[in-house]
């Protein structure tokens, strides 16, 4: 078991350019079932380098190969349409790696994919699992890798990892790996203001996964999603070892720190700084590291407790 993807997941790749080819081949070599590429003008060709057929549309690729997941590697101006095309074709897992997608596009995508309830919340079961955009994707070590997460620094195990940041995910994975801890699934959700799956969509999946025994989540300044998932964990899975890290303890307010979403808004209601998040999570019984290395050490302690 793993969450969202496993060894049976059949992946098509939207975008057959340099990035799509490089990572498509990498993922396939790792054992991911990459079955097709799509490109509106290249239907019928064989995809050189990845060695799978190219189809003109996602619908065709799905009908012919049984693909149930898509990796979106098209340029930012076309990402909205690519995600919507995969959604309309009934793809169950859409992983959008592309960075720089306009926020209006993502607002449109999100509200198209998911039904908005009367109380303003969304019914996530009404649509596919969307990961990203602007994310490294997800890996279930030994089973499947969709995206750009390096497979060499991790191995199969029982810790679920979910993170808002790409290379920081690798850093934590690396520290866990050095400590002998393997990963059930690692999901990089991305740092944009509007993303498909958030902590609150991933962590409950870990809670239901029999192979995941502990959870690490890696947040950063901006928004209050960390507190939301912390409350959920405290109320629903208080006995599961959970550790968090929040990047940006020394980030000044009002400055966007690289990620579009990583900003402590001036005059915000509070809770958006790393210190606020750490204090709030610790009150909920979740250990929070002050840096990646301490975070891994806390996880080891929790697992050995």
């Amino acid at each position: 078991m793993a969450i969202i993807i496993d060894e049976t997941t059949k992946v098509l790749i939207q975008g057959t350019g340099g990035q799509g080819t490089f990572h498509g081949k990498r993922n396939k070599d790792y054992g991911t079932k990459v079955v097709a590429g799509t490109h509106p003008k290249k239907g019928g060709q064989n995809w050189e380098g990845v060695d799978v057929p190219i189809f003109s549309t996602v619908q065709e690729a799905k009908d012919e190969t049984g693909a149930n997941a898509s990796m979106v590697m098209v340029p930012a101006p076309f990402t909205k349409d690519a995600i919507l095309e995969a959604y309309e074709a009934g793809i169950e897992v859409i992983v959008a790696i592309t960075e720089g997608v306009p926020v209006h596009d993502m607002a449109q995508v999100y509200n198209t994919l998911y039904h908005r309830n009367e109380d303003g919340t969304f019914d996530m079961s009404s649509g596919p699992v969307l990961i990203g955009p602007n994310c490294p994707g997800l890996i279930s070590p030994g089973k499947s890798n969709i995206g750009i997460i390096p497979e060499s620094i991790t191995k199969p195990g029982t810790v679920g990892l979910v993170s808002r940041s790409g290379t920081l995910t690798y850093q934590i994975m690396h520290e866990l790996n050095l400590a002998g801890i393997g990963i059930s699934t690692c999901v990089g959700i991305g740092g944009d203001p509007i993303i498909g799956s958030n902590f609150m969509d991933i962590v409950p999946k870990f809670a239901e996964d029999p192979e995941t025994e502990a959870i690490v989540f890696v947040g950063e300044i901006g928004g209050t999603e960390e507190q939301k998932v912390g409350r959920w964990i405290a109320e629903n899975i208080p006995d599961t070892p959970c550790v968090a890290y929040v990047a940006g303890f020394s980030a000044p307010p009002g400055k966007q720190m690289g990620h579009a979403g990583a900003i402590v808004k001036e005059g915000s209601d509070g809770g958006e700084t790393a210190a606020d998040k750490k204090a709030a999570l610790e009150e909920m019984g979740i250990s929070v590291g002050i840096n990646p290395s301490e975070t891994a050490q806390l996880m080891i302690k929790r697992l050995n407790a």
Binding site: F122, S163, H174, F249, S250, G258, A262
Partner: protein, 387 residues
Amino acid sequence: MDLMEFQGKDVFRAHGIPTTPQGQIATTAEEAHRLATEYGAPVMVKAQVLTGGRGKAGGVTYCPDAAAAKEAAEAILGLDIKGHVVHKVLVEKASDIAEEYYLSLLHDRVSKGYLAICSVEGGVEIEEVNRTQPEKVAKVTIDPTAGMTDELANQILDSGAMPAETRDQQVDLLKTLYDGFVAADATLFEINPLIKTTDGRIIALDSKVSIDDNALFRQPEIESLEGPVPPGEMGDDLEAKAKEQDLQYVKLDGDIGIMGNGAGLVMSTLDVVAQAGGEAANFLDAGGGATAESMAGGIAFVLGDPAVKVMMINIFGGITRCDDVANGVLGALDMLGDVTQKLVVRLDGNSADEGRRILEESGHPNLVSASGMIEAAEKAVALAKEA
């Protein structure tokens, strides 16, 4: 990308949002005098800076005649408003104000849509009204796939306790504002104050506009605005220069230059430097796919800041190969020639052994290697204290 008031009003006009009659920019008191004479008094002289609180800081002046406009421009030009020096003022015909309201549209990550904020209490700090009279500040979520209907517009205006007698104009304005907000790829359209003039018109007296940087590829008119904004008006000079070079850079107060690959890792690097007792001079993300060229450009930029005593480079190679990074670092040092600062380099991940070997074999006197980011931070802090 944040726009100044006059640019925001141009965006408003382009999208049919009623605002003040077009004014012009003056960069000298004489120009302000000429414009005021041309427009006919009274006029407003308003500081153009990318920060709020201009009024309180003396950056907005009502001028009954041209001489007063000259005097006001003299006082305002050069003024420092929250670290932003005023280089230009907007001179425009004064409007006769009967009532002041507040209206804004913004992106809302919580509701994954847009938020309309509306209040009959305008012209003041809306945060303050929100604290003291929250019932007078309406916050209504907008579903981007449904858009702004008459019904929703009325609901927003009702919850903001907006007056009934000019309601048709208010509804029209809100719908136009919404269409413009979407069409301009804005993340914020704020009007404070939105006014009713003495002759009963509802217009935007001010504008605060932010446009999504990721969408500038389809907003050529807005993107071209960026050029004429001289450094200094954008806040910090180095940040403005970094922006020109497409660097993800934030200027900070310390003396240790920081570069890493990936925003989260760089933020985390700032954390470990602070925990080691040092202070970062900047945040610079070389990007998830850092190349030799992007490394060289970033290093040159950070070392060009006179505040930087030591630089720490923290790379975790995912797709990025550390041997490429090592060659990039050496290439940058070659190119720069007379570098006086030490560079503490930490490489891990993809081809890290190879990268470390390349740096070691170079024997470059400015390079200090470190294993792990904490060790790198400790070495950088120690070197900064010696320097």
